[in-house]
Amino acid sequence: MLEIEGLTRRFGAKTAVDGVSLRVPAGQMVGVIGRSGAGKSTMLRMLNRLTDPSEGRIRFEGTDVTALRGRALRDWRMRCAMIFQQFNLVQRLDVLTNVLVGRLNRRPMITSLLRMFTAEERAMALAALDRFDLAETALQRADTLSGGQQQRVAIARALLQEPRIILADEPIASLDPRNSRIVMDALRGVNREGITVLVNLHDLATARDYCDRIVALNAGRLVFDGPPEELTAKRIREVYGVSEEEFAEQAAEAVGATARHVAVPA
């Protein structure tokens, strides 16, 4: 159980996330939606503590995550893996080493700096890659892969952390529809295995298709929290004061993607 209480983050005079409270039971797949500047990214980054909250508390199974430092903080980060919009792979390293980055926290300092991993870990990494049909690319440099392949490598890296939670910040905003589907299917697949997934999405349809629960943010505040069926076009208009099409456009703008609804017809 992940519990968030009154989570707030201010950047100067601007409040990015404003008193958000949320309880996420283990194994749920939660879609977080919102327009440009709604605070989705800041919220996810605060959970991993890449950004520190100004106020509020994050608790995971009784542990106060907001108070963690040093070794304990790194252990927490290992357990809540992060997936980024731009994949954030090390472009100049091979795919296998990129995936093994997920093991670094468990390795002794010296051997890990020498890029020495055990045969078991390599087998884990190759199996994770194989699961996403990427085992053949293991020794290629990451920058030789397409965007969709890179995001799948990033998911393999996350899986090697053996996480309890996966935080995905706009994982498909930089991908084409086909790769988006592959990546979302992969996230849904690992969620089915018991990993809690929090995923920021700009696309309502994707959120409805894949998530058990949708959380909507507007100007940093939580404005909707419920199952996808309840997030009707009418409800969108109530919450955001715009139609679903306008919402889609504004949300897509935030991540530099094209909204699916207004995309050029195929």
Binding site: L96, A119, R122, L126, A127, D130, A135, E136, A138, L139
Partner: protein, 300 residues
Amino acid sequence: MSAAYSTGLPAVIRGEEAYRAAQRQKRVQAALGAAILLACLLAAAWVSEAHPATLWAGLPRIGEYFSRILPDLRWASLFADAETEGSIAFWLYRLPEWAWLIFETANMAALATLMGSAAALLLSFPAARNIAPSPLAFHLARRTLEALRTVPEIVYALIFVWAFGVGPLAGILAIALHSAGANGKLFAEAIENADLKPWEAVRAAGGSWGHGCRFAVLPQVLPNFLSYLLLRFEVNIRSASVIGFVGAGGIGEELYKVISFNYYEEISAIVLLVILTVACVDLLSERLRHAAIGRLEAAR
């Protein structure tokens, strides 16, 4: 290998085997490289007569020299006037002249750095392999930069002293030429590491080669260039304080004199002043760099 086999997945086993083959190849290459490096090191030591025995025998004499050039300071008369032996003032009795010479040296270094780096900036774009307009321009720029930096500064200085007479101008030109060659290579390498996607966009929009350099490459590499320029400034202060040995201005002439006349205490005084100057420049350039990079980022 058992870990991969026990998964029973053919792709994982193939991957592990490929990894092991690559690893074996890397190890062979690394061992071969290390052996060649060691052989070269030994050969270089043999040719340059860098025998460990000589090194060992000479070490104590370094300490001896240092103890000779150390000033004879006495606690009781430390702050007395320049006439009293053992005072700081007595040690640094020519401070006003030296301070002026060091100021001149720093100015020579600054001018030479600016002139050299300006030339380096122009030559670095054709000398960058990834954006060079033609192989001819590339090789021409590269070879020019090489020639500029391989000729020792002191040789340039001798030529310019012969041409322009004794004085700082000869030193400035000599150091500027060397800076152009050294920084040009570093600038070109920074450009080679730049992202070429913006370059493609500028060229695709009908921009000229110069437009590409100015709008796609320069904004990316400017912070690097600035770091290299400030580093070069420090190096040039050192060069400018030695180049006076051949009459090309700055503190060097004075340093050469005190060394050749064995005025031991004065050697340490001048060296201390040069070190202090370099430390000041270091502090200053650090701030300058941060301020400039901050403004570059803000201007974007």
